[in-house]
Amino acid sequence: MDKFEKLQGIAAPMPLVNIDTDMIIPKVHLKSIKRTGFGKNLFDEMRFNRDGTEIADFVLNKPQYRDADILVAGDNFGCGSSREHAPWAIADFGIKCVISTSFADIFFNNCFKNGILPIVLPQEQVDILMADAEKGANARMTVDLVTQEITTSDGDVIKFDVDAFKKHCLLEGLDDIGLTMEKAASIDTFEEKAAQSRPWV
């Protein structure tokens, strides 16, 4: 997995609430058996007409946001389906950080497995960042995972919380499975005990 330490870039504003994973990557694009190549279909039905032409007023089609690195989004981002194709599409497009007042649980976890940092902040702070994002490409935002700080284009600093274990994994680009396998002895022990106490499982 790619490491995430510090990101400076363009933030795109998407104030709509309840952006679901069907919006992020519609099901017609879930038929691949690969993890890559989903970026071209990110927000497909919001971003493109049926004939493949761009919908001009969609935020990521606007010249100033075409190379967005950060998304500032409305409440409950990533709700709905568990499809990891959603964070795959976001990362493949080039967005490595999403900021909102809340995220759906499965999407939130999926982000960390793919080098994306989801940040939860109170409404007032998301409002500040949304306003900053709306300034366009010249207003570059900085997200520092080490110090847990977002710096707006005006130099305002907003602190954010992140789970210590998840932070460690993102900073180091660690593979969860490898980490868990180091604890194989604990899993063996659990299975031996469970075979006695719950043999029907």
Partner: protein, 467 residues
């Protein structure tokens, strides 16, 4: 010992390792697998020379892509869908996991097959690369959806890295009124809490109205816990649960059954256990409901009118404007005046035998409205077989429904069953998101009885008005 919730008890019984910060390796008893979210996980195992740690606890079935028309015995026409199902065939064989292939009578939607075959049992941890894994919580099993990276993690280690959620109690007191079903309960709860209201929580549903539900109804309630944002929904097991489980293919037998029962009977929330949040609804206040927008929280009693954006606050105002535009609805319209083109009955929410009986009760001896496209897709081959044995299949066909083979079908429209642009559907599924049932398709979520009523009248209809 301090009193524990049901969630606490199941959690504690599955901790394989706990770090100082509370990061836990939670042992997984059952891992359900379908074709859309697993191929990349199996490929990951191959690339790292890893194996499936517990193939005996891993159960796979293709459901999302499978056609539901009889010609599917000849294979899947859509190439990408065919490749995805073929990949599952190969992966199941190569890694030696339990498998119900597309043309096996036991095939069906993964969340219907698991309970039906007795794989899902009280007190278990159950995961699947599918958000509606919440369904299995109806058995008092801790069940939730995971992403593909976590699917790979469970395949390789039979554990998940987890932090414990908070406890939320949703109590439905008293009795339901006639015409009100489990679907109306679960939608009414989401209407109350919102789609983010459960974020960070595991919900335990309780109260007389929940106790009175069959296992089928309880599965409907828990299925949509995810639409309320919760990690999982739970209902404590009781005699209804034990009766359903007993005798199923993979349920314990003999002495093991007795031992299991001894433990299962301890699976309830202790007197005095604390919940972080409590929501209470009166059963008798719940009406048959319908969604009008593009989020499952956009729910109102069928007797209401399409709302105005000004009825809402904050970011929801713009979301409602967008939803009304997408749905082609005008504020102030009676919900019962909304005309329907299509009816879809099925899905992991409402594709079980009890749902089909409810539909048959409404449509028996009647005809669906002229020009109506209406399909009934059973949740499994065995549900279909039982419905035929009970004569329901004939009732559906005589009423004018298409009576299909098992699969996810138009719930998410990955197979050929899709809405076309602006086609309006009364659907027993779980999501009314933009584009969910087909590009620009318009979905109204309802109970099976309400869907059946809409099929007869051609409009959203209060099933209580039909006699």
């Amino acid at each position: 010992m301090s009193p524990k919730t049901l969630y606490d008890k199941i959690w504690d019984a599955h901790v394989a390792h706990e770090a100082e910060d509370g990061t836990t390796l939670l042992y997984i008893d059952r891992h359900l697998v379908h074709e859309v979210t697993s191929a990349q996980a199996f490929e990951g195992l191959r690339m790292t020379n890893r194996t499936v740690r517990a193939p005996d606890k891993t159960i796979a079935v293709p459901d999302h892509n499978v056609p539901t028309t009889p010609d599917r015995v000849n294979g899947i026409e859509n190439e990408e869908g065919r490749i995805q199902v073929a990949a599952l065939d190969t992966n199941a064989k190569e890694f030696g996991i339990h498998y119900y292939p597309m043309n096996d009578i036991r095939q069906g939607i993964v969340h219907i097959v698991g309970p039906e075959q007795g794989w899902t049992l009280p007190g278990m941890t159950v995961v699947c690369g599918d958000s509606h894994t919440a369904t299995h919580g109806a058995f008092g099993a801790l069940a939730h959806g995971i992403g593909t990276s976590e699917v790979e993690h469970v395949l390789a280690t039979q554990t998940l890295i987890q932090k414990k959620s908070k406890n939320m109690k949703v109590e439905i007191t008293g009795k339901l009124q006639p015409g009100v079903t489990a679907k109306d309960i679960t939608l009414a709860v989401i209407g109350e809490t919102g789609t983010a209201g459960g974020t960070g929580y595991v919900i335990e549903y309780c109260g007389e109205a929940i106790r009175d539900l069959s296992m089928e109804g309880r599965m409907t309630v828990c299925n949509m816990a995810i639409e309320g944002g919760a990690r999982a929904g739970l209902i404590a097991p009781d005699e209804t649960t034990f009766k359903y489980v007993n005798g199923r293919a993979h349920a314990p037998k003999g002495a093991q059954w007795e031992a299991a029962m001894d433990w299962w009977k301890t699976l309830y929330t202790d007197e005095g256990a604390e919940f972080d949040l409590v929501v209470t609804l009166k059963g008798e206040d719940i009406q048959p409901v319908v969604t009008w927008g593009t989020s499952p929280e956009d729910v109102l009693p069928i007797t209401a009118k399409v709302p105005f954006p000004e009825d809402f606050t904050g970011g929801k105002v713009d979301a409602v404007k967008r939803a009304l535009d997408y749905m082609g609805l005008e504020s102030g319209t009676n919900l019962t005046d909304i005309e329907i083109d299509t009816v879809f009955i099925g899905s992991c929410t409402n594709g079980r035998i009890e749902d089909l009986r409810a539909v048959a009760d409404v449509v028996k001896g009647k005809k669906i409205k002229d020009g109506m496209r209406a399909m009934i897709v059973p949740g499994s081959g065995l549900v279909r077989a039982q419905a035929e044995e009970e004569g329901l299949g004939d009732i559906f066909v005589e009423a004018g429904f298409e009576w299909r083979l098992a699969g996810c079908s138009m719930c998410l429209a990955m197979n050929p069953d899709q809405l076309s642009e602006n086609e309006r559907c009364a659907s027993t599924s779980n999501r009314n998101f933009e584009g969910r049932q087909g590009y620009k398709g318009r979905t109204h979520l309802v109970s099976p009885a309400m869907a059946a009523a809409a099929a007869l009248t051609g409009k959203l209809t209060d099933v209580r008005d039909l006699t």
